[in-house]
């Protein structure tokens, strides 16, 4: 069962990602981004990481992408003023090198192959919650500080007059 689902969701996430980076209008990109994120959430669930899968849908697809869409609509760049993007040598080179990177990651994946094991429940809500509030408590708290800093920074940056 798992290989079939992996292929389906993997294909969706890759296809979505390609659509994200190739759309002309950012709004289209944002909608495809939601698709990709959902597919990735499904992959998480496939590996029994239920907690992360839930967070992925709620925080990412729910909050972050909404923020994107919010901003896209806020600044509302007219179609005519979107950057004109032609295929130049430099960009072709960039995409080629990115392809090389994919090739290299494939080599890495092959070389460090691991024996297949059934998914454990290491990603369950209980397990992750216990780890976060015991071993990684400090990191968890620091994360909250980071988020606070990001909030303040974002307000300071975006507000016309403080």
């Amino acid at each position: 069962m798992e290989p079939v689902l992996f292929v389906i969701f993997g294909a969706i996430s890759v296809g979505g990602a390609i659509m994200v980076v190739t759309r002309r209008h950012p709004m289209a990109s944002a909608l495809y981004l939601i698709l990709t994120l959902f597919a990735v959430a499904a992959l998480f669930a496939l590996r029994q990481a239920h907690f992360l899968a839930a967070i992925q849908v709620i925080v990412y697809a729910g909050a972050v992408v909404v923020l994107f869409i919010f901003v896209i609509m806020l600044i509302n760049v007219p179609e005519s003023r979107l950057p004109v993007e032609r295929l130049t040598g430099m960009r072709f080179l960039g995409v080629t090198v990115a392809g090389l990177l994919i090739l290299e990651s494939a080599l890495v994946a092959r070389r460090f192959g691991m024996a297949g094991t059934p998914a454990t429940d290491a990603g369950s809500v209980r397990a992750v919650g216990t780890a976060l509030f015991t071993d990684y408590l400090l990191a968890f708290e620091v994360t909250s500080v980071l988020l606070l800093a990001a909030v303040i920074g974002a307000i300071a940056m975006a507000k016309k007059k403080i």
């Binding site: 990651s105 994946a109 290491a122 990191a139």
Partner: protein, 100 residues
């Protein structure tokens, strides 16, 4: 019963697509979204390997990455708004006064 290398390969492909988007696109909004894809790719690798090793650390790291991604998106978009107000553009090649 899949090998983790399949997930790692998928992670690499997603990451490469994200990189290609960052390098090739001009629209700042799409570049930011590409960055989100790259972070997700990393999360896939974390989760896959963590699950195969039966270790909760993978999930915890993925959780941290997600937090950073959210923070990054918030600050990045705020900067974008500020820049757009000033220059009326989302074209990253036009934001090149910091040189020479």
């Amino acid at each position: 019963m899949m090998e983790p290398s399949a997930y790692l390969l998928l992670s690499g492909i997603l990451f490469g697509i994200g990189v290609a988007g960052v390098v090739a696109r001009k629209n700042v909004l799409i570049i930011l979204m590409s960055v989100e894809i790259m972070m997700n790719a990393v999360n896939v690798a974390f989760i896959a390997v963590g699950s195969y090793l039966g270790d909760v650390t993978g999930s915890v790291f993925a959780f941290m990455v997600m937090t950073v991604a959210a923070a990054e998106a918030a600050v990045g978009l705020a900067i974008l708004i500020a820049i757009y107000r000033l220059k009326e553009t989302v074209d990253i090649t036009e934001l090149s006064i910091l040189k020479w």
